[in-house]
Amino acid sequence: MLKRSRFRNAVILLTAMMLIVAPVAGTYGQNTGSGIIQDNELVISQLGDNGQIESIQVLNNLNIAGGGISTVEDGKNYSVTSVRNLYSTQKIGQKENSLTVKTTGTAEDLYYLADIDKKEIPGIKMPVNVQIDYFLNDQKVNPSSIYGKSGRLKIVCSLENTTGVEQEIEYQDSNGNLVKKQATVFTPYVVSLSGWEFDNRKFSNIKAPGVAGESPEGVLVNVQGITQVSWSVPLVPPKYPAKQYTILEADGKNMELPSFKIAVIPIVPTTAEIDNIPTIHESFLKLYDGFDQIQNGVGAREKDATLLFGLGAVKDGAEKLSSGLGSLVDKMKTIKFGIANPSFNAATYDADKGVDANGNTPGLRDAVGLLKAGVEERALPAYKLQIMILGMLEQSIGSSGGEVQEPGGNTSIMNDLAYLKSQVAAPQQKIISDNIEPKLNRLAGNLKAFGDGGNIVTASGSMPFPASVKALEEGSNSTLAALNKVDGGLAMIELGMGPVDKNGKPVKVMMNGQPGTILYALAYMQESIDGQLVPGITQLQEGAGKLSTGAGTAKEAISGGLETFESVPAIVSVLEENASKADTFLGKPEGATGTVAYIFQTPEVSKEANAMKYGLGALAVVLVLLIALGRPPKQAFEAPVEHA
């Protein structure tokens, strides 16, 4: 019976073992793939009360796809104090520069946790510096001192991307030329501060303000009495600053804070934001062309068919016009003096020398005045006198016929001759009648003709005599009238010319708001040209120069912007490349692909530490009380004495 029972037990046990071992054996027998290893690291840094990193643990996941790998050698960039396999039993060995783990030879997921040696921590350069400062009522404090206190709490988390390196990037500009440029390029990291929870019973008036260009605003969500605050901080220059910070402010009473987590991931963030860069780039190009055209249009003084060239020509022309006007004014003054010499004194004029007593020559009007004076004062009176004398002579001669009077002082020659004729004999009378009287009659007739005009009798006969004194007088009167008109005309000309002052400058004469004389008008024009037109053109030139300079400056600025736009694809490409290279912290197996993420944990501000102290105190008190009261009385346990 016993043997059957033992045999039965052995069979049952063997069957059970086979059932357990068979799948494992089958698993060991498989060798299905090429052994691709994916190394995923999570670097967990615990921040201490002083804000420095106290400890670093690396949670490493080796995902072996496909089999065929019996031992994995994972990289070890820093020394570790302990390594433990988290979910399986394979032992993880340490070498100087690597961690080795034996695998099952099949596809599997290995997780291990490595503690970085604390001595290495000060020398480790994290890709993102995380600095958290706590302020209570504007005083900087350690987080541990916040527990149980009340006041205005402010938490400032400063983040800095430290991966910037100078690098040469290449890109094509808008003209298709290859451009090389030195730029500081970073590995892109996005920092996520999420799920920071604040109990509404302890915290109120919670704010997470932002500052444009420096600090992103936090998102606050109130869920069942807990306010959750989250930030997303891309540290991706040039679009975002490499150095940013977040601010949280709240009024707290009897404060406690959980441990906050800050995740840092190397990634080029992709958003649904509409990419306006190509549109802006195109607009910039057009703007650049526009300014280029403005600058070319303004041109230069010596550059043909440009604004400055034209303004220069206009200015030159205006200056020449001014110069011409100046000459014209001088010539007009000469003409004016030619018309009337204000210095000339007609009273002292010497006709033989042609000048007055001071040597001044007469102008045209002065000469006309002299001529008028000559006619009026000399010629006409002379003609009148001549006519009078001729009349007297004619009267003295008398005429034949008429009553003969006895000759006296007032009788005429013809009267006296007629009386004589009456006194003399016939032959003498005949001589008188045939010779003397006709001659005297002819003389009287010629004298009359000489005075009043008509015909004169000469030896050759009678002929008209136009040059009578009367005709001369009439002619002089006509000349005088004409001279008056000439004088009048010259006076108008002189008036129209306008006066000049003692310095030779045209005197200002305005009529109806306009220059009233030629000289003043010419001087006015010259003054306008010199005082306004030319300076105005000069200012136009200066303004055009500034326009050109401004257009050039705008072009430079736009050119800088265009360079930025044109370099964006190259920078994005480098960013993506850097992000893909940031795939390990501790190290990874050769040929493996990897990813790395960082978590920074802030110290918890809670009652646990104090509570533990009080708890230990309470324990001690209870033990003391139990020692005093909780021990049984000795007599109750004494064994009864055996009576012999």
Partner: protein
């Protein structure tokens, strides 16, 4: 009757004070104090409450050690049932061995179970948190159980005094 009412009031007030102050003492699961009270009422007025208290502490310490080993040396949940079973087995074995020295095994088991009840949930859901809660939880469980034990002693003493 009056004495019973007085005793009841005293116990109620003591327990109420304990519940109100549990956070400050780090005591977790105040109802464990009630279990301790219930369990050790049977010790009676002449029981060795001090020894029982020490046994409870031993149980807590063994459980703490076992959880530390599980959290730091063994594979983590969820696929670690075998290792949990091994550690539990070894812990209980140790407790049984220690009980041969005179320590009350029920008290040790109560301490051991009380600590596991306090932290096992955290161990399975958030193992890294064990680094910060393991020791405070041990203190808290010890405080709860020992205060419960002390209150049961008080109840017994008062009852004895009343009945005399």
């Amino acid at each position: 009757m009056k004495k019973a009412i007085g005793l009841g009031l005293l116990v109620a007030i003591l327990f109420t004070i304990f519940v109100l102050l549990q956070d400050y003492l780090g005591a977790s699961a105040f109802y464990m104090a009630a279990i301790a009270m219930a369990m050790f009422a049977v010790l009676g007025p002449f029981g060795d409450y001090l020894k029982t208290a020490i046994a409870i502490l031993i149980g807590v310490v063994v459980a703490l050690a076992g959880m530390i080993v599980l959290a730091t040396k063994m594979p983590l949940p969820p696929d670690n049932l075998l290792f949990v079973a091994l550690v539990s087995g070894v812990s209980l074995f140790l407790l049984v061995i220690v009980s041969t020295t005179g320590m009350r095994i029920d008290a040790m088991f109560l301490g051991w179970a009380g600590y596991l009840a306090a932290v096992f949930g955290t161990y399975t859901t958030d193992t890294p948190a064990m680094a910060t809660v393991a020791l405070p939880a041990a203190v808290g469980v010890s405080v709860s159980l020992l205060l419960g034990l002390f209150m049961s002693l008080l109840v017994i003493k008062i009852a004895m005094a009343v009945n005399q």
